[in-house]
Every structure is written in C-alpha cells, then in structure tokens.
C-alpha cells in the first residue's frame, strides 16, 4: 500500500507532463514560420499535386483538428508520416531506438562503475595531492564539448592507430540473427568502443563528484562517528556505512543521467555515424522533416520523462526512510 502510493501519484504526474510536452511539441512544429512542406513540393508540381501533398499530410485541416488527430494517433502509437521518407515515423524510430539505448546504457554503466569507485577513492584520499590533481581534471571532462572529445578520440584511436573502426555499428555487410547476437558480437563491441568511451568520459564526472561529496558528507554523520566509537573495522565503516549511504543519491542520478545522455547522444552519434535517434533528429531537423523530427524529439522526451519518474521512484524505494514510512 505504502509503496503503491508514490507510484500512482508520480505516474499521474508523468501523464500530465507528457501531455504538456506533447502539446508544446505540436505547437512548436506547427507554429514555425513558413509552409512546413515547402521543402518537399517540387516546383514542377501542379497546383493540384501540391494540394494533394498537403492533404496527404493532413495540413489542410484546422489547427485544433490537427491537434486532436495528432493526439488520437499518438494514443495508437502512430507518429505520422515522414515528409522526406514518406514512410511512417514510428517505424523508423523503433528501428533506431535500440541503437541509441545500447550506446546510452553501456556508456553510463561504464561511467558509473568508474565514477563510483573513483569518487569513493577520492573521498578516502581527501585533501591529498591525488585529489588536488584529479579534481580539476574531472571538472574539465565535464567542461569538454562531447563532439570535440569524440573527434580527438577518433583521430587518435581510429585514424592514427587504427585500433577501432571509424563509425557505424558493424562492419559492412555483416549479418546477425537478432539484436542480441549483434550486441554481443566482437564486431559490434569494437564499433561501440569509441562512442561509448566518449560518452563515458563525459558522464563519469557526475557520479564521481556526487559519490565523493556524498561520501564526505556521510563520513561526517553521527552514525559514522558512532561506528568508530563501536570499534568497527575501517572496512565496515567506509564501505558498509559510508559508501552504502553515499550510493543512494548516486543511483538515483543514474536514471536522470540516462535522460541527459540521450540528449548528448545527438552530437556524438553524428560524429561516430551511429545510426541512432539523435543523429536522426539532427538530419530530420536539417531536412525540415517536421513529423520525423517531432517523432524523434518525442521519443527522446518520453525516455527523459520516464527516467525522471524512475529516479523519483528509485529514491523512494532505495531509501528505507521513505519506502518504510
């Protein structure tokens, strides 16, 4: 009962936010200046052909009507037709989403494992020379433009050293039975390495700094002092009490990071020719393919919102002060 409550109320909130984002998206794309189809109407078209195209995309209806059609379609999981590809947007997006998710999650998992360990270590070595050296570097990694980092890594590890391939998810023409067999293949992993590393280097700063500052805070808590007074071993004190408590917000931040990372992917996917949602969004936007851009945007927004919810719930479930209220 007590665990159901936050889930319900947060889910309710999520639906509201989702609706608001969907509406903003709709307005954003419909109220843009100019004819949305302009880029796709060939000058040689007759007036009838032009009108047919406008009708085909339902752009002749009133704004309100378009809005309700759009909402109705969304409820059925339809995102309309791409202007450019003339095919259903949802189809393309479902094809690209797994690539984006695997990149996002693999990089974050690496970033979090490293960040948590390094953060705990730096907290342990607080006020040491190691810290004075490491902190500015960590802060600088968060200040790097991701695409720049990606390009530099590409230049070193791919162009110069030839260790990793320069882009894509697999070698030309290779075939896999399923996504799973693809994702577990050495070929895929070697393609994943550089973009994953780029994102991981950028992302590790958050868990690292968070872990470190939480550890430092926790180590000042009364219960840690009491653990010392109890004569418990340093391992118990630092790991079981310090790290365990410090981890809580770090775990929560993971979900939020997924949302953030998805946004960062937009640039990195373009650098590494990664066939994901971000690159699709960029190319759809440059091509004025409104329905596709809208669909890709919406999908990213949904993941962001979902992850915000999961972060909230994680916090609720992981902290016994809330879950056992």
């Amino acid at each position: 009962m007590s665990t159901l409550k936050p889930v319900l109320s947060r889910t309710f909130q999520l639906i509201l936010v989702l609706w608001a984002v969907v509406t903003i998206l709709f307005l954003m794309f419909r109220l843009m200046p100019g004819n949305p189809l302009a880029a796709y109407i060939d000058p040689t078209f007759t007036l009838e052909q032009q009108e047919a195209l406008i009708r085909q995309f339902g752009l002749d209806e009133s704004l309100l009507r378009q809005y309700f059609t759009y909402l109705g379609n969304l409820l059925q999981g339809e995102l309309g037709y791409s202007f450019r590809y003339r095919t259903p947007v949802a189809e393309r997006i479902w094809l690209l989403l797994p690539n984006t998710l695997i990149l996002t999650f693999s990089s974050l998992i690496v970033a979090y494992i490293f960040g948590i360990l390094a953060g705990a270590w730096l907290a342990w070595r607080r006020a040491s020379r190691a810290e004075a050296f490491a902190l500015p570097i960590v802060l600088a990694t968060r200040a790097m433009p991701e695409f720049w980092l990606g390009m530099v890594l590409l230049a070193i590890f791919s162009f110069s050293l030839g260790i990793f391939p320069a882009g894509g998810t697999r070698s030309a023409g290779t075939e896999y039975e399923s996504l799973w067999s693809l994702y577990t293949s050495a070929d895929f992993l070697s393609h994943l390495a550089l973009p994953m590393l780029t994102l991981a280097i950028y992302s590790q700063g958050l868990p690292l700094l968070l872990m470190r500052s939480n550890m430092l805070d926790v180590m000042k808590e009364d219960f840690v002092t009491m653990a010392k007074v109890k004569g418990l071993s340093p391992y118990t004190i630092v790991i079981k009490h310090g790290a365990r408590n410090a981890l809580l917000p770090v775990m929560t931040s993971f979900a939020i990071s997924v949302g953030y990372q998805l946004q960062g992917n937009v640039v990195v996917e373009s650098v590494f020719s990664w066939p994901g949602l971000g690159r699709e969004l960029v190319s759809a936007v440059s091509a004025s393919d409104y329905p596709l851009a809208q669909g890709a945007f919406l999908m990213i927004a949904v993941v962001v919102i979902l992850m915000n919810l999961i972060a909230d719930l994680l916090y609720t479930f992981l902290d016994p002060r809330i879950s056992h209220a």
Binding site: M1, K5, L8, S9, F12
Partner: protein, 327 residues
Amino acid sequence: MTTPLVEVENAQLHYRVGSAVSAMMGLPSVVKAVDGISFSLNKGESVGLLGESGCGKTSMGRLLVRLENVTGGSARFDGAEISQLKGRALRTFRSRSQMIFQNPFDAVNPRYTLAKTMAEPLANAGIPKSEWRDRIIKALELVRLADPEQYLDRFPHQLSGGQLQRVVMARALILEPDFVVADEPVSMLDVSVRAGVLNVFREVRDKLGLTAIYISHDLALVRYVCERTIVMYLGRIMEDGPTEAIVREPLHPYTQALVAAVPTPNADQSHEPLPIGRGAPDPRNPPSGCVFRDRCPKAFDRCAAEVPASKKVGTRHVACHLFDEAG
C-alpha cells in the same frame, strides 16, 4: 465584565500532507495541529500554553499573530476575526499583536545591524524616521539592555544569546502592542541567563499591561510566568485553569503524569513510576475518542467512543470522561 481581547472558539488548523491521490485512497493525509480549541483571554491576562512537542501549542500561538489562518472555527482579536483582517485593520492588528520567537539567532536577520532590525516595525507602522532612534533606545532600555547605544550598529553574531533574546523582545515591544505571544523564549538559552530574560518578560508585561501567551513545554517555567495554564495534547485542550492549582492538584490523567514527570533540582525527589503508559503521541494518526486514551492508565470504553467535552471543575476546565458524572 469586559469583553475578552482574544477569543478562540473551536479553532482548527489542519495541514494537508501527501498528495490528492493518497487522500483518495483514504490514507491519513491531514495533520490536525489544532483541533477544536476554545479559550479566551481578558486584557492583561497571561496564560501559559503547555504541552509536549507536537501538541499544537506553537501552531495555536501562530494562529493568534496570523502566521497561520484557521481552517475551521474562529480566532478573534478585539472582536474581529483575525484571518479576515485586511488593509488598515490588518496594519493596526500587526502593531497591536506581536510574537517573541524561540531562537534569537534565527529571529533577526544576520545581515542587519540591530538598529535596522529594530526599525522594521517602525517603518511598517509609518512612524516618522526622526523618531526611530529614540524609540529604539527606549525599547532597548525597556528590556534592560545596559548602555543601549552601543548595540545599534552591531550585528547579531556579536551578541550573546541572552542579549539577543532581549533585542528580539524589544523589537516585539517597540510599538507597544496589547498582545504578545512568546514561543519558548528561553529554551535555547543557558540556564544561568534564562532567569534574567524571564524576569524582564514579567516586568515588561506588568509595566505595559500586556495580554500574553507564553508557550512552553516546561511546567516550572510556565508557573514562573503565568497565573493561568492551558495544557494541550495532540491539538486539544486537556485542562485549563490556575497554574498553582494545576501544579498542586492536576485533575486530568495526562496533567497528572506531566506534573509527576517534571524533574526538580532536589536530591530527594520521588522515583515512583509515572502513571502513564509507554509510547508516544502520533499526530498523523491520533486515536479515536479521547486522543490521550492509548496512554491513559484510567481509560475505559467510553474514552474510545466519544471525544470528551470540556467540563468546568471548580476553577478549572477539564476534558476527561472521568469528570462526566461529577457535574
């Protein structure tokens, strides 16, 4: 008989906690900080609001200076409903009714000099600037701060707790209000300086003919300051009457336990077990009927079924079913 200055009738202050969804699911979502409290104060009367943490005594005090508004019932000041005051009437009320806060270090803006802190009520009341300095010094003298001039340009952290609490008191009194709510004004202070602040409070109250409410969890302090005491428990009044009578012969089982529990600085005090069960009050989930019944050693069936009404017993009012047949 004069009309009372402060009249509280069945006042309620309910806080909503948790979301609308949890309310729909019937989970406890309301904390009844004040739940049906009635009393009145005549001009010049001072009363102690006594109770444990979470009993609603501070909320009650905040209602009377309009830091909160009643969610039910009424709280009137000089005949006017406090929560309805507007414009000019509200301004007048603000200058007539004041509050002394618990933590002196929190009650003054750390960025302000004491003169600036003291000037705030004056500015709000539209007192001409030329008079400020005199009035500030007069107020500081009133609370017996020696050599008040020296404090004007000081910052709060340069004063001791005792001194600062006097300044807080002076600020409350600078407009010569009729009514003051003092919320545990000495609980943050060391014992050796408490007495001074208490003595000043008593002196000023008598000098200005203040009507006062003194909020405290400490019966000994209430006894030192007020002739009348209202004992609260979980948002309700348990007992209301002359302090001495309550100290000597508490009627309500809760008051009895409370009086018995108060420690004294004497070697020869009773170590009898308290006439009360273990456990603690839970403001979110109070028992039905009498809110004290789950800890009351004398509780019987009726206590669970019915909220006891307040009954006059001698000079006192008691809300306990034990006194139902007495009348």
